[in-house]
Symmetry: C2
Subunit: 222 residues, 2 copies
């Protein structure tokens, strides 16, 4: 029984990784830099995407895939209102995006007119970590009110990321949040991840994040 179960899981992961490799190839062919943005519900994924559009568009042409568990288009509507192409993927209750959903999302976007693809994963600090989408970088958004102990309690999500955004820095005066303890928790899981402190409300730090993104987009454009 146990052996059989392991084999099945292995098969699913291999299929996902195969589709992820196809996605990556297509993105590379189109010279698009793509990120998989993961976070708890309400950490500020959509807010950061909107701020990023404000700072980078139209110099950088941005496309967005919005993952949601329910058939509501709240986030995708905001991106489209900001003038960018967006596709909503309804997971039908599932707790993460996978490479097949990503493939279907990419197919609906005008790839020749996109330099940067931002994939907003389902709000979840656990499950999305297990599914490669074919993006070039993983990014996690943490937020001050979530508390400084999250890297210790949800370690897997931080392991494969290039950037950790710490959002809602404007709330620091009202919340007991030990920045050293938090950063140390990230470093234990991932010594190399860049930590960028931002406030989507005030705009603080968003330029640093956009500088990181711009450099990556330029690298891919060559």
């Amino acid at each position: 029984m146990t052996t059989s179960k392991v084999q099945i899981i292995e098969k699913i992961f291999n299929a996902n990784d195969q589709l992820a490799a196809n996605n990556r190839q297509l993105l590379d062919d189109k010279k698009i830099f793509a990120i998989n943005m993961m976070a708890s519900p309400g950490a500020g994924k959509t807010s950061l995407i909107l701020k990023t559009i404000q700072l980078l568009a139209p110099r950088v042409r941005i496309g967005v895939i919005e993952g949601d568990t329910a058939p509501v288009t709240i986030d995708a509507d905001k991106v489209i209102a900001a003038g960018m192409p967006a596709v909503q993927i309804n997971t039908g209750g599932d707790c993460h995006l996978d490479a097949a959903m990503m493939r279907d999302g990419i197919a609906q976007l005008p790839l020749d007119d996109i330099d940067l693809l931002i994939v907003e994963n389902v709000g979840n600090l656990i499950c999305p970590a297990g599914f490669n989408l074919g993006t070039h970088s993983n990014v996690v958004i943490a937020s001050v009110p979530e508390g400084d102990d999250k890297p210790y309690k949800y370690p897997n999500i931080y392991r494969g990321i290039d950037v950790l955004i710490l959002n809602k820095m404007d709330l620091i005066p009202y919340i007991d949040f030990r920045q050293d303890y938090f950063s140390q928790g990230i470093r234990i899981q991932n010594p190399k991840a860049e930590i960028i402190q931002v406030s989507c409300r005030t705009g603080e730090g968003v330029q640093s994040w956009c500088d990181w993104l711009s450099a990556k987009v330029n690298q891919v454009k060559g």
Copy 2:
């Protein structure tokens, strides 16, 4: 293929429900009122448990099961420091508790000395909704900084709950949070759930929550 997959899932759910029924029977035999507390990471589950202990113990004898994805005992340690029996369940990376984990947790608690069992589920607004533990009530903690659109985007978790706690009310002055829009979203999913506004930081509203709990505990004691 599809039919086979559905059958397997059905089998797992039936096994979980069977174990949940056993858990419920044991709790009823011991006259223990039990709640399944669910929330996003960092919404304030552990903080509310600690405040509840402050207000209700030793009049109400409280036991706690802490669900965590990682083998860290941060939350369980806090409960034990508050003088209450606590068991930590490490899900080994899994995104929710199930009835088998709950059974193993109950087995380690001094059931004859407990009136109220609080099960702190893994921080996740999606997956825990699918797994009955055998508790008497489901409770979700939302928090102001998560945003007012969560009931629309993560609808399933609110459907089977008796109480919705809206925590971090002390942050209302610093955050754009439409209380009417939020409450309406809860009501669409669940017209009957009681909504209790609290701040674990200031203590506001925690007494109302404890009054609800006390009434339930007294009902079970008979």
